[in-house]
């Protein structure tokens, strides 16, 4: 599976390939570039990754999700390079017999991608400034750089 790509994410194509006779529920999450952040107008976001490790970690996250839930389909891709407003930077698709597993596993996968996988965003603002941003700072609460707090575990 391709986990990291410089190409535009093909959401319709990925969804079309995610139907399964045993799946009554398909969930697609698309993380898209918003035109504003911290009160400033955003022009675009540029993503960078440490690709060999990022792919390996995403593969492990998918394996872990398949261990925890009975999934017919589990797909994730993250785009790197310049991503424009309303374009998808990351997509996660999960399919299972019933919706609870598809929703839960999808959220688990995106949470872990955001916190653990070595991918970084640099936001470029309309005023000409840019900032590497949105860093995971879970360790300030967990005391360990490898322990994270996931939204999906906090309702």
């Amino acid at each position: 599976m391709i986990y990291i790509t410089e190409e535009q994410l093909d959401l319709p194509g990925l969804l079309a390939a995610s139907h399964h006779p045993g799946a009554g529920a398909v969930v697609l999450f698309s993380g898209e570039v918003r035109d504003n952040n911290v009160g400033k107008k955003v022009d675009y976001i540029e993503y960078e990754s440490y690709a060999p490790m990022a792919s390996k970690m995403m593969n492990q996250i998918m394996e872990d999700a398949r261990q925890r839930w009975d999934l017919q389909i589990a797909v994730a891709q993250h785009r790197i390079g310049k991503v424009k407003i309303s374009e998808s930077a990351v997509v996660v698709i999960t399919a299972s017999a019933h919706r609870s597993e598809a929703y839960a596993s999808n959220r688990y996968i995106i949470d872990r991608i955001k916190h653990e996988v070595p991918i970084w965003k640099c936001e470029y603002f309309a005023d000409g400034t840019s900032v590497w941003g949105g860093n995971c700072n879970c360790h300030t609460e967990t005391g360990d750089l490898n322990k994270h707090i996931y939204e999906s575990e906090n309702g």
Partner: protein, 77 residues
Amino acid sequence: MKIEVFAALKNYFSKEFEITEQLETVADLRQHLKNINPSSSQLINMCRFVVQEDLVTDAHPLLSNDHVVVLPPSSGG
């Protein structure tokens, strides 16, 4: 040893550079990087370190020919 940095760390260091000082552990390297550029300290404290493509702890011993990758906290998605 060869050091490679990513993302916000490039505001403080070259993308790739060599360190010739003898450093015993990742903890020593963390401190050394802070000494080279004190304004990077807050970020360096939050970074994870990779040696030969594996995440390692601060106690991990370093060899002079290691390739060390320094990862700031993730901000994907």
